[in-house]
């Protein structure tokens, strides 16, 4: 849960370059604020920060572990009032911004993203969605499923259903229903979440294993074809539920089954709002 100090980047080149790019945008008036990270009270972790004043922008820090997805703050009224804003992103974060545009929650011109690629440890040139999309499309979704990312999913798929059930029953029963996963996710923006609809209650609100399993199942399902694997949910979870295993499994499934990957085309279709006549029919008797 805690981000160790070694994840705090910023003293090096990337942080300085990021600050220069952000300063240029802010000083030049292209944006009214910069959403980034700063060191917390004891310089032990990174916390999100909104900079409106160029003089406050020292070295910027970049969360290299999944951590928080800053896009979640783009729905905050205080931030919306300052659009356009610059926002420091990693690829999963930027793709989630694209999904927000796809779903009509944001306009492309509201944000000037700065994209950090941890694989190459570089800040990419460009600060608009249009400039950054080609790079995203060149590397994703392939990167989501390479280099051992699918290990946990594949290992579970090799088990029997009974073994898988035992695994997920245990993992999901740890849930305390804090909804940190939901609040950390930029794509969970429903004004009233399904779990909070009580008349009638569709999901049991109690943190007993059945209620918690159902909650996590439904949340994963509601993100199918939308989740861009930024990892903020699992990072936020105080009881270490392996949410990314569920998300990655579904992301891989929709890619294989429907040739679909979210967050790469702001004008693209939504997976479950569209259909093709050729969609597979094997499930149906």
């Amino acid at each position: 849960m805690t981000t160790e100090l070694h994840n705090v980047r910023g003293a090096g080149e990337a942080g300085a370059e990021l600050a220069e790019r952000a300063k240029a945008l802010l000083a030049g008036g292209a944006v009214k604020a910069v959403l980034s990270w700063r060191r917390d009270l004891t310089a032990s972790r990174l916390q999100p920060a909104l900079f409106e004043d160029v003089t406050e922008l020292g070295d910027l820090f970049i969360e290299t572990e999944p951590g928080l997805n800053l896009a979640v703050y783009l729905r905050r009224a205080a931030v919306r009032g300052l659009f356009p804003v610059s926002i420091v992103t990693r690829p999963g974060d930027l793709r989630s911004i694209v999904v927000l545009v796809q779903e009509g929650q944001l306009k492309a011109e509201d944000v000037r993203p700065l994209l950090f690629d941890s694989d190459s440890s570089t800040i990419l040139p460009g600060d608009t969605l249009a400039e950054l999309l080609p790079w995203l499309r060149a590397h994703y979704p392939a990167r989501d499923f390479e280099d051992g990312q699918m290990e946990a999913v594949t290992a579970l798929e090799k088990l029997t259903p009974a073994e898988r059930w035992a695994y997920w029953k245990d993992e999901l029963s740890r849930c305390i229903r804090c909804y940190a996963c939901r609040e950390a996710c930029p794509l969970c923006y429903c004004e009233r979440c399904i779990v909070d609809l009580t008349q009638p209650p569709w999901l049991e609100p109690s943190a007993h294993p059945r209620g918690s399993l159902t909650w996590n199942l439904i949340r994963a399902y509601h993100l199918a074809g939308r989740c861009t694997l930024c990892g903020a949910c699992q990072s936020a979870c105080p009881v270490d539920i392996p949410l990314m295993v569920l998300n990655r499994m579904l992301a891989h499934h929709v890619l294989k089954e429907f040739d679909f990957a979210p967050g790469l085309d702001p004008a693209g279709p939504a997976l479950l709002a569209t259909w093709r006549r050729e969609d597979p029919n094997e499930l149906f008797r």
């Binding site: 579970l156 798929e157 088990l159 029997t160 259903p161 009974a162 073994e163 898988r164 059930w165 035992a166 695994y167 997920w168 029953k169 029963s173 740890r174 399904i194 569709w202 999901l203 049991e204 109690s206 943190a207 007993h208 294993p209 059945r210 209620g211 918690s212 399993l213 159902t214 199942l217 439904i218 994963a220 399902y221 199918a224 074809g225 569920l246 499994m249 579904l250 499934h253 929709v254 089954e257 429907f258 997976l271 479950l272 709002a273 569209t274 259909w275 006549r277 969609d279 597979p280 029919n281 499930l283 149906f284 008797r285």
Partner: protein
């Protein structure tokens, strides 16, 4: 409401069934096709398992995953979703939207380890009364094999609390 005893936890076993376990099957069916088929099965006196409780909706496209889970929460051992064949939807494409939804949902349930016998999907048109009867019988038989869904129902009892 006539006076009657409180409903028992489980219906008594039908004589002759192998295990004595009578699964509870909830079927979500569309008004224009499968419900008509069920009607046809009835009017043509085709016998089929009475374990099924039919929930009629305008179109399979109206169904959401929460409804299926709701059925499980309230004691269903299995769920069946059935509607018009692709291209025959009364609302043009409701079933096609549903199809994609169910493919994804079924995959997720399978990944969690829920046996696929518990969530079944079919296209049954209005004239396919026999198909409906056969389908329900087959699904109920499969559910008798996998047994009651106590894995899910009883999860509530084992709280994570100390």
């Amino acid at each position: 409401m006539t006076s009657m005893a409180a409903p028992a936890e489980r219906a008594p076993a039908t004589p002759g069934t192998a295990q004595g376990f009578e699964p509870r099957l909830v079927a979500f069916v569309c008004t224009w096709c499968t419900y008509q088929a069920a009607d046809l099965a009835g009017t043509t006196r085709l016998p089929y398992a009475s374990n099924v409780r039919i929930v009629r909706v305008p179109c399979t496209g109206r169904l959401s995953a929460e409804m299926l889970l709701h059925a499980f929460t309230f004691g269903a051992d299995g769920v069946l979703v059935s509607g018009c064949h692709p291209n025959d939807c009364h609302y043009a494409s409701g079933n096609l939207a549903a199809r994609r939804r169910w493919i994804v949902f079924a995959r997720l349930l399978g990944f969690l380890g829920i046996p696929q016998e518990r969530v079944r999907f079919a296209w049954v048109s209005a004239s396919e009364g026999r198909k409906w009867a056969d389908l329900v019988n087959a699904v109920v038989r499969d559910l008798q094999e996998v047994g009651p869904f106590t894995d899910y129902h009883h999860l509530q009892r084992r709280t994570a609390a100390l």
